[in-house]
């Protein structure tokens, strides 16, 4: 089993950092002209004014290593005794910039004039810090729980089974478990299971109405990938591998990524590259599936939610995931008073809690501070209801709204749609 490194070993970190510099990283570092525009896009800089949180500065260890070892000028300088190698102090100093002040939201990557994907570089730098043991305690604990128990929050199958039982009671529907040959395997994030279990009931009702053949797996139900957050491909591979084994064992055609941002990144975009082969199934985000059902006429709603509401775009689903229009088309079914917030869509501002920050106690004050940008967005659009599609965004923002005493309620897309399902006889199963 993969392990979480807890003992500091900066030399190992340097060795791993060296391996992370592929052609993309080398091109990015060569092209950076130090314009600082990335800072203007990063909520950690805009809401604090702290220049250390400039995105490209967060990868200064990587830049220094590349410059010293992989450029002619650096190699000549090193031979002549100029400059210095990375030290343990550098790793200790940069842990904050690598983890506490970056959610991997990728907003910086959208504005760099030379096209640098800085979030990609920070993700790569996390590989080195994770290998060297320079990671926040909270992420170490979450990743250890995920490896040993199967969930970063310690949620067991028994706990999920209990929530499934509640959902069955509430809906009068049977939720299928370990069904061989079902079309769809539904995953959940621990955050959903424990904090927003209404998602489970919503899925059951929608799938029954739309005639979707689905199942849950008792062997692998966790969508959250702590390996991605801590930055360890070894851990991420093991966690994704469990889902792949369960899905391919059940012979499902599709795996549904739930309302969780980094879960989608992990299973949809990183997973095949982690395990080194394509899956024997396809991955769909729940928003994509619901939107497909809508277009096929299998998702019928009635009535409207007359509240004025807006949508928070989860970074990993929209900007980094490519699922921007489906939530809007779904909300258009039931929300006539929907209004976009400023900077909506792929340029929306991060909730401040992704990339492992919600599990990182050291970052609590900082993420509460940077929520001010979301606060201004909400004040500008003037709503008391915000819809989103990520349970982690939801819990982080609920905490922040409480801190700022803002009377805004947050709901999920799936539960909103389920609340307006048109009663109909169950359609025949099969896609």
């Amino acid at each position: 089993m993969a392990k979480v490194v807890t003992e500091h070993d900066y030399a190992r970190g340097v060795a791993v950092l060296r391996e992370q510099i592929d052609a993309r990283v080398a091109a990015y570092l060569s092209s950076c002209v130090g314009c600082g525009l990335c800072a203007e896009a990063c909520l950690f800089y805009t809401e604090t004014g702290d220049a250390r949180y400039t995105p490209i500065y967060k990868v200064e260890p990587m830049r220094r290593l590349w410059q010293r070892e992989q450029t002619l000028a650096g190699r000549i300088g090193k031979a002549l005794g100029f400059g210095r190698d990375l030290t343990a102090d550098d790793f200790a100093a940069w842990q904050e910039m690598t983890y506490n002040s970056c959610t991997l939201c990728g907003r910086c990557s959208m504005v760099c004039p030379v096209g640098n994907d800085i979030a990609y570089m920070i993700r790569k730098q996390r590989e080195a810090f994770a290998a060297a043991g320079y990671t926040p305690d909270g992420l170490q604990t979450a990743a250890t729980r995920a490896l040993e128990i199967g969930s970063p929050m310690g949620v067991t199958w028994k706990a999920l089974a209990a929530q499934i039982g509640h959902a069955e009671k509430a809906t009068g529907l049977k939720i299928p478990v370990d069904v061989q040959g079902a079309d769809y395997l539904a995953l959940f994030s621990s955050m959903e299971i424990m904090n927003f279990p209404e998602y489970i009931a919503a899925l059951a009702r929608i799938f029954a109405a739309a005639g979707v053949s689905w199942t849950v797996s008792s062997q692998a139900f966790e969508a959250t990938n702590s390996g991605i957050q801590i930055g360890s491909s070894e851990i991420a591979r093991e966690l994704v591998g469990r889902v792949v084994d369960a899905a391919e064992g059940l012979g499902v055609k599709y795996v549904i990524s739930p309302e969780c941002g980094h879960a989608y990144t992990a299973i949809r975009w990183d997973g095949p590259n982690l395990i080194g082969r394509p899956y024997a199934f396809e991955v769909v985000h729940i928003l994509e599936l619901l939107d497909q059902l809508r277009r096929d006429g299998r998702l019928q709603t009635e009535g409207f939610d007359e509240r004025k509401l807006t949508f928070h775009d989860p970074c990993q689903i929209v900007r980094r995931g490519g699922v921007e229009q489906p939530p809007r088309d779904l909300l258009a079914m039931v929300a006539p008073n929907f209004e976009e917030m400023p900077d909506h869509g792929k340029m929306n501002w991060c909730c401040g809690g992704g990339g492992g920050l919600s599990a990182n106690e050291e970052a609590y004050d900082l993420r509460t501070t940077v929520f001010k940008v979301k606060k201004r967005q909400l004040e500008a659009v003037g709503v008391e209801t915000m819809i989103t599609a990520c349970a982690n965004c939801r819990i982080v923002m609920e905490e922040a709204l409480e801190h700022y005493a803002m009377p805004v309620v947050i709901e999920g897309v799936t539960e909103l749609i389920a609340a307006h399902l048109k009663p109909q006889p169950p359609a025949p199963t099969g896609d």
Binding site: A23, A26, S30, G321
Partner: protein
């Protein structure tokens, strides 16, 4: 004699170092390779790469006013320099005589003056921001300042050579050009070539996800 040296052996040596250095730098990047993406794409990577190659030439919609400064000053400098380099009469003569063997109609003198003024203003504004803005002060390296000052000295000596037309001033301009060419492949000035790679890689990766980046 100094003029003969800078327009002769030093010019040839600096062009050779520039050309070989740029090729080596590009090779150093490309040789590192990128692992193929095994995730099923939502859309084409090539289209994404080409789109981002073009779209990053202006700021993202609704982006901050800080970006506006860079956009304006940056283009003043780059476009001004482009016009100077390729359409100033003395440069057209030099290109025809020493590089390509053919030339083109140079820009009128007033265009040259306007371009030079814009290039100077842009470069000075960008450098002032670099030494005054806390973010740029933190992330700037020796390389950033050296490149800015070398470029400035090329432009400044060029103005002097033009205005006074003495051999020694022309030699000084040529010397600063040679120094810039030698410095180029060792510096961040390489962005002039590598921006195609950086925009392309990101555009392709995001394009496969269906994101117009």
């Amino acid at each position: 004699m100094f003029l003969e040296f800078v327009e002769g052996p030093l010019w040839y040596a600096s062009v050779a170092i520039f050309a070989v250095g740029v090729v080596i730098r590009l090779y150093e990047i490309l040789a590192r390779g990128v692992k193929p993406d095994l995730a099923p794409p939502r859309a084409g990577g090539t289209a994404g790469a080409l789109r981002t190659l073009v779209s990053r030439s202006w700021t993202a919609k609704g982006f901050s006013s800080g970006a506006l400064f860079h956009l304006v000053a940056g283009y003043m400098f780059h476009l001004g320099l482009f016009v100077l380099l390729l359409f100033a009469a003395p440069h057209v003569v030099f290109i025809e005589a020493r590089i390509l063997g053919f030339g083109w109609t140079p820009a009128p003198h007033w265009v040259f003056i306007v371009a030079a003024d814009l290039a100077f203003a842009g470069l000075i504004l960008l450098w002032l921001r670099r030494v005054m803005h806390p973010v740029l002060r933190r992330i700037s390296t020796f390389d950033d300042h050296a490149a800015a000052w070398l470029t400035f000295s090329v432009m400044f000596t060029g103005c002097m050579a033009l205005l006074l037309s003495h051999d020694s001033l022309r030699a000084l301009h040529m010397l600063s050009v040679c120094l810039l060419l030698i410095y180029f492949p060792f510096s961040r000035l390489m962005h002039a070539f590598t921006f195609v790679l950086s925009r392309g890689y990101t555009g392709a990766a995001m394009g496969r996800k269906g994101v117009q980046a």
